[in-house]
């Protein structure tokens, strides 16, 4: 280049087939064209095949009566409801097990991951065995095992194990326990709970600021917990403290009243949590091990206890290593919940499968299932990426 400018000669434009800019564009257009052609071929071919085989298409079926019963629903549902509602019941069931699974697996996995690093030999070994046991056996087998354990180990409803002076009943139909009878106050208590959580966050921030300014610690965790529990209770008292409960009682084949945690749900949740927490434990352990040992030595030097060092110094730094792989574990829990079909928990896949079978419209239903899992997965990823940015090392 220097030579060219020195000579005052501008370099000749290369021939178009040698020009990187032109070539770049040509390749892009060719690739886009090929992908488009493939997509067009697949779509038209599918439509043609469907028409030829006289398979109905379109999403009209969503509004038709589903006609099948679902055993475990979070919302009102009956066989007279539509296919759309049946699928929605499945989505909610999937979300329920995924959300609870993520929370519980995170807690358990973190404890076990820290436990593996404990100087207590027995505790460290137990945690290690736990990880190896759960990591090395396929999840489906664990699910079968837990489901069999629950359905074989517990007696039928008529011989149910009664606990806490006859308020809890454990049988192979699940765990029945009393719940408050629906009352308008419950909605306000829910709002009170949200307000309590908001208040706790505000208190925590204020306490942090005050500690930074004055050095005065404030037990913000305990006070926060008290607010979260306290506000709904105050609302309940203000509403006249309605205390009518629905109690489970044996009637005919089964218990009526109260509410139930069903064996299929329990087996799936326990399986997912125990299995995934083994992986979470390894991620947490590696995150902590990734820190220089100077960090724990420094923490010890300023007089922090082991627990304080873990909570205030090590874990916050380890999070930067932990969060990205953790995202995959959360996605795994969500996707693995589809194994529910093997033990009869009515999740999204189960609802969709029955719908496919009753309507024969596989493609539409597969599109729905893909869209549902994709949006859940992308939401988890987006949230975790946001969180990762929050905890990332901020260089100023």
């Amino acid at each position: 280049m220097a030579v060219e400018t020195l000579g005052g000669v501008t370099r000749a434009r290369p021939a178009p087939w040698n020009d990187p800019v032109v070539r770049g564009w040509v390749f892009q257009i060719v690739v886009v064209g090929l992908v488009g052609a493939l997509a067009w071929y697949l779509v038209t071919n599918t439509m043609e095949n469907l028409q030829r085989q006289k398979i109905a298409s379109g999403f009209d079926y969503l509004g038709r009566e589903a006609g099948f019963e679902i055993g475990d629903t979070m919302i009102e549902y009956s066989p007279a409801s539509t296919y759309a509602r049946a699928i929605w019941v499945g989505i909610l069931n999937t979300l329920r097990v995924a959300v609870l699974g993520v929370i519980m697996a995170t807690f358990l996995g973190t404890l076990i991951g820290i436990g593996r690093l404990s100087p207590n030999w027995l505790l460290a070994k137990i945690c290690e065995w736990y990880v190896e046991a759960f990591r090395n056996v396929p999840l489906l087998l664990w699910l079968f095992l837990f489901y069999k354990l629950i359905s074989e180990a517990f007696p039928g409803p008529r011989q149910a194990i009664s606990m806490l002076w006859g308020s809890l009943f454990l049988s192979n139909r699940g765990l029945y326990f009393p719940v408050p009878i629906a009352d308008p106050i419950q909605k306000w208590m829910g709002l009170g709970l949200l307000a309590g959580i908001g208040l706790a966050v505000v208190i925590h921030r204020w306490a942090k600021k005050r500690q930074a300014a004055t050095g005065q610690p404030f037990p913000s965790i305990w006070v926060g917990a008290a607010t979260i529990v306290g506000v709904p209770i105050v609302v309940w008292l203000a509403g006249g403290a309605p205390s009518q409960m629905s109690w489970p009682a044996l009637k005919g084949f089964n218990f009526e009243g109260g509410t139930v945690i069903q064996p299929e749900f329990t087996a799936l949740l326990v399986g997912l949590v125990l299995y995934t927490s083994a992986f979470v434990a390894e991620i947490v352990r590696s995150g902590i091990l990734a820190l220089h040992k100077g960090q724990s030595e420094a923490a010890a030097a300023i007089g922090l206890s082991r627990t304080q060092a873990m909570r205030l110094v090590l874990l916050p730094q380890a999070l930067r290593v932990i969060v990205p792989p953790m995202t995959s574990q959360y996605l795994n829990i969500t996707k693995n919940s589809s194994l529910a079909i093997a033990i009869g928990y009515p999740d999204l896949v189960a609802s969709i499968n029955v719908t496919i079978n009753q309507t024969g419209q596989a493609i539409e239903n597969v599109l729905i299932i893909m869209a549902a899992y994709l949006s859940v997965s992308l939401s988890i990823s987006a949230f975790m990426n946001w969180y990762n940015k929050q905890i990332a090392l901020k260089e100023r």
Partner: protein, 343 residues
């Protein structure tokens, strides 16, 4: 293992399946492959069950063998594909199998919107309920509040909901895809009731009750809540293949009606009866019309047997199930089995 994903994969195979619509392409594919791909259930004693050597046996299996005998002259050129209730239709639609002989109920929706053709009725069935004797239940009308084990994506599942709705009763379903698992759930007491076709209930009661429980611990309730005509299914589009499947079953019924069985079929070749001569291809024409060998019925009866033989051997009086022929008797004996004439 992952049945859900394979259902979806089969669904996507519909997307991918290519090639123009040609009459006879299914038949051509079967001939070119040299084997019939027959979709059967995952295992119901008497109807379709692989024995300890992996050899499939049962009334439904015999239909596959009859079709194979008609096309190839050899009843053994069948590859069996075990399918769950949820997989079967997508597997057939996408070409994973050539036909189903899978205890599938003939319904309007399935015959129209699914792009499928039912070719006949192998077994006239109806849905029943089985309960543990200890519950002391005498009638299905007493099942209010019961927990019911049922297979997903079946007419059984829909009839069950309809029956309870019609009788103003409540129930909780436990829905598991694999037949073994749903039975295990029932026998462990997870459900009060197991519901499926009455024939399958009889089979399960005899063959699947786990020790130390005994078949006598369980009772099938008297109510039959639905009509379940079970028969073979093929894809829409290849009528010639559909005809062969249709007439293979008819040939078995027709053979029984005219007293032709696997033992006397060689004798029958010498018969003077013009109908028998026509059926067995001594008077040619029928095989040509169907597009198969003239000895197609001879091959079916010789190698598989007539309908009555197959029934008795698999589910009837010679089997452990010992199911009464009931409505599955020939029409000449007051039953429903009636084949159009082979002429």
């Amino acid at each position: 293992m992952l049945k859900a994903s394979s259902t979806i994969a089969a669904g996507l195979a519909v997307v991918m399946a290519s090639g123009p619509a040609l009459a006879g392409k299914d038949l051509d594919a079967v001939k070119a492959r040299g084997a019939l791909l027959c979709g059967v259930g995952t295992g119901t004693a008497g109807f379709m069950l692989a024995d300890s050597q992996g050899k499939w046996k049962g009334l439904n299996v015999d239909v596959c063998r009859a079709v194979s005998a008609a096309i190839f002259g050899d009843a053994e050129k069948v590859k069996y594909v075990p399918l769950t209730s949820q997989q079967r239709f997508t597997a057939l639609q996408s070409g994973e199998v050539d036909m189903l002989s899978n205890n599938t109920t003939w319904t309007l929706t399935r015959d129209t919107a699914l792009g499928l053709e039912f070719t006949g009725v192998t077994y006239y069935d109806g849905q029943g309920f089985m309960v543990n004797k200890k519950l002391g239940v005498k009638s299905a009308k007493e099942l209010n509040g019961a927990t019911v084990c049922v297979a997903p994506g079946t007419t059984t599942e829909l009839n069950l909901a309809d029956y309870f709705r019609a009788n103003k009763m409540q129930f909780k379903p436990v829905v598991i895809e694999k037949a073994d698992e749903i039975r295990a759930a029932f026998f462990s007491g997870r459900c009060d009731v197991y519901t499926t076709d009455a024939s399958a209930l009889a089979a399960v009661r005899v063959a699947n009750v786990p020790a130390p429980q005994k078949p006598e611990d369980y009772v099938v309730l008297p109510e039959i809540i639905s009509k379940e005509p079970l028969g073979p299914v093929v894809r829409h589009g290849d009528n010639q293949f559909g005809d062969i499947v249709k007439w293979a079953l008819f040939a078995m019924v027709e053979a029984e009606e005219y007293g032709i069985n696997s033992k006397n079929v060689d004798e029958m070749l010498k018969s003077d009866n013009p109908t028998i001569k026509r059926i067995l291809g001594v008077t040619p024409g029928m095989g040509k019309a169907l597009g198969v060998d003239e000895k197609w019925v001879y091959n079916i009866v010789k190698q598989v047997g007539n309908y009555g033989e197959s029934f008795d051997r698999n589910v009837g009086k010679e089997s452990i199930l010992n199911i009464d022929r009931g409505v599955n008797r020939l029409w000449t004996q007051g039953g429903l089995q009636y084949a159009p004439p082979i002429r």
